[in-house]
């Protein structure tokens, strides 16, 4: 190595070190709570790269059970919560997150306008990814049986019938039908697909006891006949496991899980090569997909000092820096809303969902109450214990009781 090159290498190496260690400098504590799927793990790790003060993350599937309590204290334990359009509502209802307009002006030059979640004109969250449920299927099996890729739930049913008859899979349909949140989400998809509206106009009055509700329930029941009989205990993790094992051929699955679905150990080559993604399905001849659009983003707590809020904002901005998607592994983890993102193969489903004008999940203060009423009541219908009409009126009664208690009705 000659004499001129050596110092050049050393300086460039030093520069590299400096650039990395000073890329994100913060002056106050940062503490993040959020869900635990791969893209959020990446964001959490990105925030932790900041130097100068402590950065803690608590990423867990139970984040919704702890974020309100963890942000209610004075000062708040969590300075930021990673939320979706469902879970931001609880934080908004309790007035726990702060408007970010000033911080966006100061540090948010890398944000695109559609990343800003504004409520009544104020920026309350910064979105970094989009998510939706869509079809995931086994291309090899469908081709073998000469079945075209289902575009509607009716086609999915007839495909399931053929697959079962062929003996290639006993229970070819998968779905996150676990009683509670998951089951209610599947109902919401189907209900919206049939053109249903959860509430009467802009009021908190329930509106699920309708023709669309009845049709949605009956479609879910028909689908469940092609599912593993334990479907009421299967969340998206268990449904994915069934797909990996080769037991499920067709399923409605989250985009955020699709990319890494077959990455686990022990997945057969047939499943790995055969897995394919398509857009969400419609139902009942409607043109709006039976699915809902979600965004995931981060918020900053209200009950913390301005210095902590600024540090949190800087750390979270660093975590979603557009440079992270240069890594191919990260790029395929989600449909990123970041500048410079081009969709990967795994993102096709969510992109199709957005293009087909899928309805975004409503950010309404009482949407969560409706969701949990649905989740609790339709298990009886799915087991054949009661008819659709009774179940739908039960949902409305359960929702009314809860909404009255929470001061909405």
């Amino acid at each position: 190595m000659n004499l001129i090159k050596t110092p050049f290498f050393i300086t460039s190496f030093l520069f590299f070190l400096i650039k990395n260690s000073f890329a994100c400098e913060i002056k106050a504590r940062v503490s993040v709570v959020g869900n635990e799927f791969p893209a959020i793990q990446t964001v959490g790790a990105g925030a932790k790269k900041c130097k100068g003060a402590e950065v803690k993350t608590n990423l867990t599937a139970d984040h919704q059970k702890i974020n309100v309590a963890g942000m209610s204290s004075e000062p708040a334990e969590y300075t930021s919560a990673i939320v979706a359009n469902t879970s931001i509502v609880a934080l908004l209802n309790n007035d726990l997150i702060r408007p970010l307009d000033d911080l966006v002006k100061k540090h948010g030059s890398k944000l695109k306008k559609n990343q800003l979640i504004t409520i009544n004109g104020k920026v309350m969250a910064v979105a970094f990814m989009a998510n939706a449920q869509h079809l995931v299927y086994r291309k090899d099996i469908l081709e073998k049986l000469n079945i075209s890729v289902p575009k509607t739930y009716e086609e999915m049913l007839s495909a399931a019938k053929k697959i079962r008859a062929s003996g290639l899979a006993k229970n070819p349909v998968g779905g996150a039908y676990k009683a509670g949140w998951n089951l209610a989400q599947e109902f919401n998809n189907m209900f919206i697909g049939y053109g249903g509206k959860h509430f009467k106009g802009n009021t908190p009055e329930p509106n699920v006891n309708s023709d669309a509700g009845k049709k949605a329930l009956n479609m879910m029941k028909s689908l469940s006949e092609y599912m593993n009989p334990d479907f009421l205990t299967h969340d998206s993790n268990a449904t994915n496991a069934e797909f990996r094992a080769g037991n499920v051929i067709l399923m409605n699955m989250w985009g955020s899980r699709a990319a890494t679905l077959t990455d686990a150990d022990g997945v057969s080559d047939a499943v790995k090569k055969g897995m394919n993604i398509a857009g969400p399905m419609t139902v009942g001849g409607g043109n709006i997909p039976a699915s809902t659009l979600f965004w995931d983003g981060w918020t900053v707590a209200k009950k913390i000092s301005d210095a902590e809020a600024e540090a949190t904002f800087i750390a979270m901005m660093n975590a979603i820096d557009p440079s992270i998607i240069k890594d191919e592994k990260v790029r395929k983890q989600a449909v990123w809303l970041l500048d410079g993102y081009t969709p990967t193969d795994a993102a096709r489903g969510v992109f199709a969902a957005a293009k087909m004008n899928t309805t975004p999940y409503p950010m309404l203060p009482y949407a969560g109450l409706m969701h949990s009423a649905i989740g609790a009541e339709i298990a009886d219908f799915m087991q054949g214990k009661e008819n659709a009409k009774k179940t739908l009126s039960d949902i409305e009664d359960a929702y009314r009781a809860a909404a009255k208690e929470k001061g909405f009705l």
Binding site: N228, L232, A376, E405
Partner: protein, 341 residues
């Protein structure tokens, strides 16, 4: 004991009970008769990556004053106790008037979340407790009669179910009874029915939860009874033998009467424990088939809804349930105590 000594003796316990049990219960009672204030709703424009939309939102400025003047919330008396999520007085009357017989009455009633939970909780309590008492006693008698060399190891293995954390234990079993798991598969093979699934049927789920409850609780009764067996007076047993009593008569006439105070104690503890059944429901993901009072409280507190008043009300109803459940045993103990005096 002198009153003064007694006072100092009991003071730390009394203080701890006051701070950690009595005061929290008072606060739960207060919470259960209040609800959050009515929210002032406004229509605002929200924007997200998918576009802008006019939606309903809470007006925090308008609700703030109301919240500050009455931080506890709105006083509603017993309204929440009587709403559909709890005692459901109106639905109860309706079902009572419309039911033709007791079976259809119970069936309609179990459609309401509170009664559904009560039915399962009571079934669980009143099956698990006696089975566990009986099996615990049998195991204790068995262990007591085997050679002293083997006893240590047998006791260790008998205690294992209690050492495993309930939630972990139930999750492990959950996968074993899966239709693809070892137990689930075995049952399918035994009954020659490839579609049989423990998790898909309400009856089988209940049986599974009860079996799990018994499995988990036996070590407690076993170890208490085993300790009790060591104190059975030898001379009584010997004289019974001389009088010609067989093994069974020895157990019925000497051992059980001797263990009676322990049996009362174990019954009390287990009634309380089983009434609070919770972990297996979460672990077995059984909420579609079986819910309990504790599960309702957990469900109301978690997630996006956080129904604090509903959870507080369920807690108070659970406490009342425990008191009703224990009253016969407590009454009996009190009578015994007076009788001895």
């Amino acid at each position: 004991m002198k009153h003064k000594t007694f006072f100092w003796f009991i003071l730390p316990t009394f203080l701890a009970m006051l701070i950690f049990i009595f005061l929290p219960i008072i606060s739960v009672v207060l919470q259960s008769v209040h609800t959050p204030h009515e929210n002032v709703l406004i229509t605002v424009e929200n924007c997200d990556p998918f576009g802008c939309k006019k939606v309903t939102s809470i007006d925090h400025e308008a609700t703030k004053n109301l919240k500050q003047s009455e931080p506890l919330g709105k006083f509603v008396g017993l309204d929440i106790y009587f709403d559909r999520g709890h005692l459901a007085i109106e639905n109860f009357k309706l079902i009572w008037n419309n039911s033709e017989n007791i079976f259809s009455f119970i069936q309609s009633l179990s459609n309401l979340p509170f009664y559904k939970a009560v039915f399962f909780t009571l079934t669980f309590t009143f099956t698990v407790t006696p089975i566990m008492l009986l099996l615990g006693l049998l195991i204790a008698l068995g262990v007591n009669s085997i050679s002293k060399k083997l006893r240590g190891i047998v006791i260790f293995f008998s205690l294992l179910p209690m050492i495993v954390t309930p939630l972990i234990g139930s999750i492990i079993l959950f996968w074993m009874i899966d239709s693809r798991g070892i137990i689930g598969n075995l049952i399918q093979w035994l009954f020659n029915d490839p579609n049989l699934s423990l998790k898909a049927s309400t009856t089988l789920t209940w049986i599974m939860l009860i079996v799990y409850g018994v499995w988990h609780a036996i070590p407690f009764s076993f170890i208490v009874f085993y300790a009790g067996l060591q104190t059975v007076p030898k001379d009584q047993l010997e004289s019974a033998k001389i009088d010609g009593a067989n093994k069974f008569e020895e157990v019925i006439y000497i051992i059980i009467p001797h263990l009676m105070p322990l049996i009362t104690f174990v019954t009390l503890m287990q009634l309380m424990d089983n009434f609070r059944v919770f972990e297996p429901i979460v672990g077995f993901s059984a909420e579609a088939h079986a819910t309990s009072l504790s599960w309702i409280i957990f469900n109301d507190l978690g997630g996006e809804t956080r129904q604090l008043s509903a959870a507080a009300t369920s807690s108070i109803l659970t406490i009342i349930g425990v008191i009703i459940l224990l009253s016969p045993v407590l009454l009996r103990t009190w009578k015994d105590f007076k009788f001895k005096k």
